[in-house]
């Protein structure tokens, strides 16, 4: 079918890759500027996150954690994007994005408390610039937009970043937030971690758009697509988007193509909608294996290092789950007092039932 001269033209986009699945640099020009120490730290965090994920799934099965959305496979998109930020940038996560806010400063035991349904999980330390994970898909996109508006009005060189999945890109709030950012030229980064599925629904059932990144066109902001299993591409893309934001050049939508090796949640069965072949194909793109190959060639990482980080991560998880379990139990009266700055009379009276 031929295109009409007055029809909006779009072309398919080629995702940015820096590191091949074999661990070779394939795009030298887009290589982020990172020291050997930084490269090792990124690897450390990805291995740590994978181990934490494995332990969290087990702790969930043992009933020691509650709500938990697995992250294995998305370490590059999560760890890398957070690593590219400054500490005073603000993170508005979705429900799967616990690694970003933990690496941004939320103590791990509080992440576990959030999972267990304890209010202290959301009591973010004063010097940590994150919100607790958002359950209403899309709502966090508007919060990041408002935070970015505040940064812009205060003249601060800070950016807000927010995350959703491929399914979330069908929400009205996703579009509204990007559109506001386009109008007000806000310093905000919208990350879509496209792992191919929204629970059981494949990406092809979310949109007929050529890519999620194309949706930036409708908001008048920059849209890019990257290999979300490639931590170097992730870091480069987020660094650039953050710089644009800080320089007053506005918002960026970054679609990160990724995969979750585990189910959507603990209650999900992937065998009903995914094939073994598909899973095997993505395992070849594993962000950790790929980055390890790169570092090993540079003499910066060995298998022993991986083993050591895994042990460290297990010990840290154990320590923090214990701390979470030992946290003082909540009371209904405590909840009542946390509703408002000053508890109104009717709520004060309702405490009598729970003395």
């Amino acid at each position: 079918m031929s295109k009409l001269p007055y029809e909006v033209q779009t072309e398919p986009v080629t995702p940015l890759s820096v590191l091949s699945p074999e661990g070779e640099i394939v795009n030298e020009a887009m290589m982020p500027n990172l020291s050997d120490e930084q490269l090792k730290e990124i690897m450390y965090r990805m291995v740590f996150t994978r181990t934490w994920d494995e332990r969290a799934v087990n702790l969930g099965r043992q009933g020691r954690l509650g709500f938990y959305a697995p992250v294995s496979g998305q370490e590059a998109s999560m760890v890398g994007s957070e690593y590219a930020l400054n500490k005073d940038d603000f993170v508005c996560p979705g429900y799967r994005d616990m690694p970003q806010i933990v690496w941004h400063g939320l103590p791990l035991y509080q992440a576990f408390l959030y999972s267990r349904g304890h209010q202290h999980g959301g009591q973010i330390p004063a010097d940590v610039h994150v919100l607790m994970p958002q359950i209403i898909i899309g709502a966090q996109i508007l919060h990041a937009t408002g935070v970015a508006m505040a940064f812009k009005k205060k003249g601060e060189k800070r950016v807000a970043i927010t995350y959703t999945g491929d399914g979330g890109s069908s929400e009205g709030d996703f579009y509204e937030g990007m559109n506001f950012a386009g109008v007000f030229k806000l310093p905000v980064i919208y990350v879509v971690q496209n792992n191919g599925y929204a629970i059981t629904t494949p990406y092809s059932k979310q949109t007929g758009a050529l890519s999620v990144a194309h949706k930036a066109v409708a908001a008048g902001i920059r849209g890019i697509q990257i290999d979300g299993m490639d931590v170097l591409a992730v870091i480069k893309a987020v660094q650039e988007a953050a710089e644009r934001g800080r320089n007053g050049e506005g918002a960026t939508l970054i679609e990160m193509l990724t995969y979750r090796f585990r189910p959507h949640s603990m209650a999900d069965d992937t065998s009903k909608y995914r094939t073994k072949d598909e899973e095997a194909e993505w395992v070849l793109k594993d962000p950790i294996t790929r980055f390890a190959k790169f570092l090993e060639k540079k003499g910066l990482w060995t298998e022993e290092d991986t083993a050591r980080v895994k042990e460290e991560a297990k010990a840290t998880v154990n320590e923090h789950i214990k701390k979470a379990e030992q946290t003082e139990k909540m009371t209904v009266n405590g909840l009542i007092d946390s509703m408002f700055e000053h508890t109104p009379a009717h709520l004060e009276a309702q405490k009598a039932d729970f003395q």
Binding site: F90, Q123, I124, I136, H143, G146, N179, H346
Partner: protein, 325 residues
């Protein structure tokens, strides 16, 4: 003192707070350059600049959600939703995100936001401009709900709402914007949120109302006076939290009460007020507490609005029922 109608008093509240607090920002659809579809923000952009008072794209959810995000950074947004029927678009951000922020974060964050919206019948407006949706708001834990009935209260309550560190849903009755003028102090002052006002004293029956219905109730009370029934009229001013103390004090004196609401009958504010009267004053009642409300239909077509809305005659009839119970 200056003579102001309610719209001017509301504008003056925003003006004094924009002046007093650099963190106050006013925004919404058409609130900037032209000063709002009802001119409630007229002149504010001229006085305080486009940075503080600005127009937004046409998207209620983003207006409310942006307010939540700005609130996280210490700003005090006053966000306008152009007409009440459009709050459905913004309900997640108003009633879930803003209302739960303090609780979800254990006090780390809060939402010091005022969501202003016009509502209220009797002006022959188009669909979904005038519905009384306070019932949706009052079952939302974490938000406060204010419905002023006169210029003096509107300014004092809006200043208090802007200064409140928790979210407030501020409902402005369309039929009261230009209804009458009153002496209003030019400086900032506050009226305590959660305090009702006895606007007419009486000893035989208590009529509880809010918004336009306060004035309808006073008209009914004047009618009743002619037949020797002395009605006390309470203007609730705040629906959440409810001033049950003022209501109970009045009922202890009158032993009879009715509640008047413009909204349809089922599960509205009146139902909650009656439940609280039952819990707190049952032994002082000589008759059941009746409701005067709209019927349980969708808000009426403009042509039948006057017949649909509660009027003094229906209030008089309800009072006579409780008097003769």
């Amino acid at each position: 003192m200056a003579q102001m109608n309610m719209k001017e008093a509301i504008r003056d509240a925003m003006r004094v707070e924009l002046k007093n607090d650099p963190n106050v920002y006013v925004f919404g659809e058409d609130v900037g350059k032209v000063g709002g579809v009802f001119r409630a923000t007229e002149g504010l952009q001229g006085e305080f600049g486009e940075d503080r008072v600005f127009d937004t794209p046409l998207a209620e959810s983003a207006i409310a959600g942006m307010a939540v995000g700005m609130g996280l950074q210490g700003f005090r947004p006053v966000a306008e939703i152009q007409f009440v029927g459009f709050i459905y678009e913004a309900m997640d951000q108003m009633f879930i995100q803003a209302a739960r922020m303090r609780y979800r974060s254990g006090g780390r964050y809060n939402s010091p936001i005022v969501f202003r919206t016009p509502f209220g019948g009797g002006v022959k407006a188009a669909e979904l401009h005038t519905d009384s949706l306070e019932g949706l708001a009052i079952q939302t834990p974490g938000i406060k709900v204010i419905v002023p009935s006169n210029p003096y209260d509107a300014k004092g309550l809006l200043v208090a709402a802007i200064r409140d560190n928790d979210p407030v849903f501020f409902m402005e009755h369309l039929n009261l914007y230009h209804a009458f003028r009153q002496d209003v102090p030019e400086e900032a002052y506050t009226i305590e949120i959660g305090k009702a006002n006895v606007v007419r004293e009486g000893s035989d029956v208590t009529i509880i109302a809010y918004g336009l219905m306060v004035h309808t109730a006073v008209k009914a009370a004047e009618e009743l006076e002619k037949s020797g029934v002395k009605a006390e009229v309470i203007d609730l001013r705040t629906l959440l939290p409810l001033d049950i103390e003022t209501i109970v004090t009045s009922i202890k004196k009158t032993n009879r009460a009715i509640v008047v609401q413009e909204a349809q009958k089922t599960s509205g504010a009146a139902a909650e007020i009656i439940a609280q009267i039952n819990e707190n004053a049952i032994l002082h009642l000589e008759a059941p507490v009746l409701r005067v409300a709209g019927p349980d239909t969708v808000y009426p077509f403009a042509q039948v609005e006057d017949a649909w809305l509660p009027n003094p005659a229906r209030i008089v009839k309800a009072v006579n029922q409780v008097m003769n119970f």
